[in-house]
Amino acid sequence: MNSSSNLINALFIFVLAGFIGFEVIRRVSPLLHTPLMSLTNALDAIAVVGAILLVGEHKSTLSTVFGFIAVVAATSNIVGGFLITDRMLKMFKSSRPAAAPAAKSVGK
């Protein structure tokens, strides 16, 4: 970031995204708070993009090593986070018959 206008832009984005997050997450049913947390965890691992650049640009040994570990850590969050969120959401079934098709796909 080389100029103060970039900084102001970033602040705008941060504040507005915070508001959106607040409004969207307030509406999440408490029923789903655990899957919500594992989902946000997976989404937060988007930090992997910064780590990928560090590894790929190969600017110094230190940055490559740190980047490598960072990519591994973030990727495991992405994969594990989406997997477990999906497993959890599959388990939520309604007692109303309308939900029957969803229930069928669960069979273990």
Partner: protein, 465 residues
């Protein structure tokens, strides 16, 4: 990071924009179980687009290493996605640690690449990123250790604890300020990270098992904020947005959790809870309680019109949730209206109890939140408490001297009959005696939750199950 965008760069930024929109939709669809799975797909597509976009970056010279790292991460991630539902809280804590580790490492690498050519603002954000990231790494590992019961769950306190923590935090901030003024002081940087790591450990040591839902949420918030800070450092709008979303999610959940326990943030973080009261309760033993056999309990339940089951984490520890579902099926078949009352801190993390019951195939529209169901207890024939204690303690309403006074509870004592399945009369997690057990309308069902519910089911179904 470039000021004027080349053609390829525009495509990358557009992919990031689409990913941002998909992330927001992903969370929006989590509002209801009927749309929630669309949310995962949106999140996955967004993630895929963002990673592909990043790989298009012209600065990348080495793809082999990236792919090795991605494959390694996947190998570690798959088993983390397949843990048992009871282990989800420690898995979540562990993934907060991983996320924060990524952020801290990237922040550190950026510092050494850029120092001493770092603007004051950038250095301040970078310090925030690695301090928050560092304390989240060790704090989350500690929380995961406590939840996995590798570490003692009892809060550990010592004299001057808050002072030590405060001094550490002040030390880290002082180094941060020094670095802002003198970004060339490369040797100070690792010291700042070490202090943040130590602070994370000490922050969680005094926190007891009962406060874990709040702590996990708070660490979630920290992880999000540190990722947003990383977005500022890398000038990545996508990362700022994802971090802000995650941060606000963690913050909202911590507020909900600390309200559910009637505690303030500072109280959770700086006050160990509940080990003193265990002793004071011992004075007044030998009060009479009424107990009942599985046969008697089954007869009362079969004759009821409305039953509310109040599950607590003890139910999951005893692995009784599948027997509870059999009881739900048997009673429903007899025309009894059975619902489940879910206290916000019934499990080990926000919403955990819902997941455990959903896993046992209990329909989610039978799981009712505390505020919604509390008014129904007076019209309820039987409230069946399984493995829950403090969240049913009427002292929270009436006894101003109780350590949990003011905490919102499930008003089970207002039901016509209360049945409590419990191993013995030992006080619960917080070590507080529960007057509910001595009420005239309370029947204690002593035994292992799984075995006891199993016996009730056999009685209700008439011996053949």
């Amino acid at each position: 990071m470039t000021t004027d965008l080349a053609g390829g760069q525009v495509i990358i930024e557009l992919l990031y924009l689409i990913a941002s929109v998909l992330f927001i939709l992903s969370l929006k669809w989590m509002s209801s179980p009927t749309t929630a799975r669309h949310g995962i797909w949106a999140g996955e597509i967004g993630m895929l687009l963002a990673i592909c976009g990043t790989l298009l970056h012209h600065g990348i010279v080495d793809y082999k290493l990236i792919f090795i790292a991605l494959v390694l991460g996947t190998i570690i991630g798959v088993p983390l996605g397949e843990v048992a539902m009871t282990a989800v809280p420690q898995r979540t804590a562990l993934s907060h640690a991983f996320g924060a580790l990524c952020v801290t490492l990237v922040g550190s690498a950026e510092f050494y690449l850029r120092s001493p050519d770092i603007s004051r603002f950038m250095m301040a954000v970078l310090s925030l990123e690695v301090i928050l990231g560092g304390l989240t790494v060790t704090g989350s590992l500690m929380a995961a250790g406590k939840l996995q019961e590798i570490l003692p769950q009892r809060p550990l306190t010592y004299k001057g604890q808050n002072l030590v923590n405060f001094v550490l935090l002040a030390g880290a901030l002082a180094i941060a300020v020094t670095l802002v003024l003198h970004p060339e002081s490369r040797t100070l940087f690792p010291l700042m990270i070490l202090i943040a790591l130590a602070f994370g450990v000490l922050l969680i040591i005094p926190i007891g098992g009962a406060d874990m839902p709040t702590v996990i949420s708070l660490l979630n918030g920290y992880a999000g904020l540190s990722a947003a800070a990383m977005g500022f450092v890398l000038d990545s709008k996508l990362l700022i947005i994802a971090g802000a979303l995650d941060g606000s999610s963690g913050l909202i959940l911590s507020i909900i959790m600390s309200k559910a326990m009637n505690r303030s943030f500072t109280n959770v973080l700086f006050g160990a809870f509940g080990q003193v009261q265990a002793a004071s309760a011992a004075g007044e033993e030998a009060r009479p309680v009424r107990s009942a056999t599985p046969e008697e309990a089954a007869a009362i339940l079969s004759g009821a019109n409305r039953v509310i089951v109040v599950p607590g984490y003890g139910m999951a520890v005893a692995q009784a949730q599948h027997k509870v579902r059999e009881l739900y099926d048997a009673l429903t078949k007899r025309g009894v209206d059975v619902r489940f009352a879910i206290h916000p801190v019934a499990g080990r993390m926000p919403g955990h109890m819902n997941v455990l019951l959903a896993e046992a195939d209990i329909p989610y529209d039978r799981l009712i939140e505390m505020e919604e169901i509390n008014g129904d207890f007076p019209q309820t024939d039987v409230a069946l408490v399984i493995g829950a204690n403090d969240v049913t303690n009427p002292a929270a309403r009436s006894d101003a001297s109780s350590p949990i006074y003011g905490m919102p509870i499930l008003d089970v004592d207002k039901a016509h009959t209360v049945m409590v399945i419990k191993r013995s009369m030992n006080p619960g997690f917080a070590g507080i005696d529960n007057p509910l057990y001595y009420l005239d309308n309370t029947l204690m069902l002593f035994g292992d939750a799984k075995a006891f519910v199993g016996s009730i089911v056999r009685e209700v179904t008439g011996g053949h199950s």
